[in-house]
């Protein structure tokens, strides 16, 4: 497909379980971002990957959160020992390199519910 693809679209998990969220960016996009959107709130930056550079992890809320990007393409966001406050929509976005004028292209998100 032409857009950013995220899976699963919905995930319900029990408190304390680990979850993995997947993002397939647009082909050729070197930058990949994860954001979190809580109900009725704005977007909270989590992590940013650009090419082969070290990722900007400054937005990860705790060490329970981690992300990888394999081969410069697919990314996985992992949340360990989930807590109820982790419930949110997790949005992935990709873009071309900064020097090329390019907004972020967002996926449809994964709605995570921790019970």
């Amino acid at each position: 497909g032409a857009g950013v693809s995220q899976s699963p679209s919905n995930k319900v998990t029990e408190k304390g379980k680990d979850v993995e969220l997947r993002c397939d960016p647009i082909s050729g996009h070197t930058a990949l971002y994860w954001y979190r959107q809580s109900l009725g709130q704005g977007l909270e930056f989590l992590i940013y990957f650009q090419g082969n550079s070290a990722p900007d992890k400054s937005g990860l809320p705790s060490d329970r959160f981690s992300a990888e990007r394999t081969g410069g393409s697919v990314s996985t966001l992992t949340i360990q020992r989930t807590q109820q406050e982790d419930s949110a929509v997790y949005l992935c976005a990709s873009s071309l390199h900064r020097q090329e004028l390019s907004p972020l292209h967002f996926g449809n998100g994964t709605r995570l519910t921790v019970t």
Partner: protein, 110 residues
């Protein structure tokens, strides 16, 4: 640390009226973005503003940027119901990391 604030956060208006959404950001930023989000959907890019005085228009929406005042505006002309959505502005911090405002929930009534 870059902070982005929008106002108003909620806006209810009648069709045919004009209104403006304001976006203030706290530190120097190279770019300013506007996005639209429909309920249950993801974000759609509307405008990217690069320089002081930049103005972009698409249909009934017009965005402008004043980098000296650290202010961007999104102006809606003769609103129609289809424009009901949540609008986010975002400013760029460092290398393309976007910091978003809280969003403005716009409801346009017939």
């Amino acid at each position: 640390e870059l902070k982005v604030e929008q106002n108003p956060l909620f806006l209810s208006m009648q069709e045919g009226k004009n209104y403006t959404i304001y976006c203030n950001y706290s530190t120097t930023s190279d770019r300013l973005y506007w996005y639209r989000q429909d309920p249950g959907k993801s974000l759609e890019s509307l405008f990217v503003l690069l320089s002081n005085g930049a103005v972009k228009q698409e249909g009934r929406l017009m965005a402008s940027l004043d980098t000296k005042a650290r202010l961007s505006t999104l102006h809606i002309t003769a609103a129609v119901h289809d424009l009901s959505a949540t609008y986010f502005c975002a400013a760029e911090e460092g290398a393309q990391k976007l910091v978003f405002g809280q969003g403005t929930r716009l409801t346009i009534n017939p």
